[in-house]
Amino acid sequence: MTATTEDQAGQDQAGKTGAGRHIPDRLTSPAARALKSWEMLLFVVAVAIFIANSIASPYFLDPWNLSDASFNFTEKAMIAFAMAMLIIAGEIDLSVASIIALASTVMGLAMTAGAPVWMLVVLGLGTGLVCGAINGALVAGLGLPSIVVTIGTMSLFRGISYIVLGDGAYTGYPEAFGWFGQGYVWWVFSVELALFVIAAIVFGILLHRTNFGRMVYVIGNNATAARFSGVRVERIRFILFLLTGLMSGIAAVCLTSRLGSTRPSIATGFELEVVTMVVLGGVNILGGSGSIPGVVIAALVMGLVTFGLGLLNVPGIVMSIIVGALLIGVIALPRLWAMWRK
C-alpha cells in the first residue's frame, strides 16, 4: 500500500506538470488526509485534555506526578497493541485479564518454591504463551468463534487461580522482582513506561511495515479471499493469539511486581478497558482497519483523563461516565460530521 501511495503521488505530480486534462487519483492530498485522520482527531483531544488538566490542577504539570500517572495505562496499553492486531484480523480475546491472573498465580507458586527472579519472568511469559496457544488452537484449529472461546477461557484461567489461591495471597516477592513494576530506567522514566514505548515500536513495525501486518488487514477485510489468495489464515490467527497471550504475560509480570502480591482477583475488568482503548484508538471493532499510533494516543488520552479527574477528586462513578461519553463522542463525531456535511 505504501509503495502504491508513492506511485500515485508521482503520477499526481506528472499530471499537474503535463499538458491536458488532469484527472486526480484521489480527492485529497496525503497531508490533508493526515489532518483529517482519526489519529489527528485523537491527538487534538489529547492535547486539549493535557491543557485543560494543567489549568484545572496545579499538581498536574509535575514530572513525578505524570510518571506516577503513567502506571494507570502502561500495562493495559501493552496488551492493547496485541489486541488491536487481533481485532483488525476480525478476532477478539476477552481472556487477557484472566491470563494475567493465572500467570501471576504461577509466578507466585514458583516464588514460594524459591525460584529466582529470571525464572519468575520466564514462567510469567510462558504461562501467557500457553494460554494464548490454548485460545489460538481452539479458534484457529477448531474454527470456533473467538468471542465464545475467550469468554470460556476467561472463566477457566481465573477459575484455576481461585482454586489454587482461594482467599489466600502470595506475598513476599524478592526485592529484585520489584524492578519491573516499581523501578525506573532513568529519572522519572519507569521500567513500565520503557516497555510500553518498546512494545509500541515493535507492534507499530509489525503491523505497518511487514508482510505479516499486511496479511492481518487482509484477513480482517475478507478472510475467504485471503485464504484463496494463499494467505495462511489459521496460522496467522494462531500467532496473533500467541502474541496477545505473551503481552498479557508481560503485563502480568509488571502488575505483579507493582502490587508486590498475587490474588486471584488481580486485574479484574482489565479486558474491557483494553478493548475500550483499542476502539478509542480507531480500530474497527468489526476488523479490517486501525493503527498502532491510534492506540498509543488512545492510551494516553485515557491515562490523562483518569489522572486529571483524579487530581480534581472527581468520584470514580462520574469518571467512568466521562470515559464512556468520550468513547461514544469520539466515535460518533466523524459520523455526525459526515452526515451534517451532506
Binding site: 506526578n65 502490587l259 487530581l311 470514580g316 462513578i317
Partner: protein, 330 residues
C-alpha cells in the same frame, strides 16, 4: 486619596496573606473507601465531616474507586500523593497490593492509616478496627443463637472469597461455636457483595438445606439480598436472616420479620475516629507505636497492640425496638 489608597492596599494585602496563611494551615485528610456509592462509607464520610467541623482546620477529601478493586484504589491513592495531601485514611480492597503505593505515600511525608479493612503493617502507621474481630465473630453467632433456643442449621452468606474482613470474622465465629450448643454451620457461600449474586446464593441455600433456621450474612449487601430472598420464598418466620447490615437498608426487613435482629458498629463513629486519628498523627500530637493510646475526640482513645492495630468499640445490636431511630441516620 493616597492615604485611602494605602489603607485599601494594606487591607487587600492583609486579606490575601490571611487567606493564604489559612490555606497553608488547613490539613487535607483523604478518606479512601473500597468503592463509592456504598451506604456504609457514605455514613463514614459524614462522620469524617463531623470531625473536620469539630477540628476546624481540616478539609476532607472523600474518594474511592468505582469497583472494589485494588488497582482502582492504587490509581486513587496515586492522585492523592500527587496532590500532596497531609493524610490518607484507607479502607483497603487488598491487604497486600496497596502496600508499595502506600509506602511511597509515607516516603513523601503523608500520614497513612487504615481503617475498617486493613493494610499489611508495612503499608500504614496504624490500623483502626471498628471492633475486635473476636467480638464480631462472637456477635454474629450470638445473634443467630438468641432466636434458636433449641439450636439448628445455620448458613453463612459472605462477600467475596478474598474479603479480608469477612474471612476473619467467619474464622472467629467458628472458634466460638462450641459455646453455642446445637448451632451447626452447614455451609458458607459467597455473594461477592453483589445484590443479585447474593440473592441467588441465598435461593440456593434455601433449596439445598430445607431445615435451615438462620442465615448469617456479615456484609451489608448480602444481608439485604438474603432477607429479600427469604421474603420472596415465603420463609419469614422459619428462616431468620441476621449478620451485619445498615439500619436504613434493613428497616423494612426487621419490620416484616425476615430479620429479627442484626448488628453493626456505627460507621459515622468510625469515619469520625479515623479522621481524628489521622489528624493527631499528622500533627505529631500522638505517635503510632505499640502500646500507644491515641485520642479520637468524643470516641475516647484507641490502644494499639503489637501489630499497631486498635479496636474502636463493640458492635451494636439493632432490632424492632430501635430500628426507626437509627434508620434515618445511616
Amino acid at each position: 486619596m493616597s492615604i485611602l489608597k494605602k489603607a485599601l492596599t494594606t487591607a487587600a494585602l492583609a486579606t490575601v496573606l490571611m487567606a493564604t496563611g489559612a490555606h497553608a494551615e488547613t490539613k487535607r485528610i483523604a478518606l479512601v473507601v473500597k468503592a463509592l456509592g456504598i451506604g456504609f462509607f457514605e455514613a463514614a464520610a459524614k462522620g469524617a465531616e463531623e470531625a473536620a467541623k469539630e477540628l476546624g482546620d481540616v478539609e476532607i477529601i472523600y474518594t474511592g474507586p468505582t469497583d472494589t478493586t485494588a488497582e482502582g484504589q492504587i490509581e486513587v491513592i496515586n492522585s492523592l500523593i500527587a496532590q500532596k495531601v497531609d493524610a490518607i485514611a484507607v479502607s483497603a480492597n487488598d491487604t497486600d497490593a496497596l502496600v508499595p503505593t502506600l509506602k511511597k505515600a509515607m516516603d513523601r511525608g503523608i500520614t497513612v492509616i487504615s481503617w475498617d479493612s486493613g493494610v499489611a503493617p508495612d503499608g500504614r502507621l496504624m490500623h483502626l478496627n471498628p471492633s475486635s474481630s473476636a467480638l464480631i465473630g462472637n456477635t454474629i453467632v450470638k445473634l443467630a443463637a438468641d432466636h434458636l433456643p433449641d439450636g439448628g442449621d445455620v448458613a453463612i452468606l459472605s462477600a467475596t472469597t478474598t474479603s479480608t474482613n469477612q474471612n476473619v470474622w467467619i474464622e472467629e465465629a467458628k472458634k466460638v461455636l462450641p459455646n453455642y450448643p446445637g448451632i451447626n454451620i452447614v455451609a458458607t457461600v459467597y455473594g461477592d457483595d453483589l445484590a443479585d449474586k447474593s440473592y441467588r446464593e441465598t435461593q440456593g441455600l434455601l433449596q439445598t438445606y430445607p431445615d435451615l433456621k438462620a442465615i448469617i450474612a456479615p456484609t451489608s449487601v448480602g444481608i439485604v439480598a438474603a432477607a429479600q430472598a427469604v421474603t420472596d420464598a415465603g420463609k419469614i418466620g422459619s428462616v431468620n436472616v441476621t449478620g451485619l447490615g445498615l439500619p436504613s437498608e434493613m428497616a423494612g426487613h426487621v419490620k416484616s420479620g425476615a430479620s429479627k435482629s442484626f448488628a453493626i458498629w456505627n460507621p459515622i463513629d468510625l469515619g469520625y475516629a479515623a479522621t481524628m486519628i489521622a489528624y493527631n498523627l499528622s500533627n505529631g500530637t500522638a505517635k503510632a507505636e505499640a502500646g500507644a493510646e491515641i485520642p479520637m475526640g468524643r470516641m475516647g482513645t484507641v490502644k494499639l497492640d503489637d501489630n499497631k492495630e486498635g479496636a474502636m468499640a463493640d458492635p451494636f445490636t439493632y432490632d424492632a425496638s430501635n430500628i426507626d431511630q437509627f434508620s434515618s441516620i445511616f
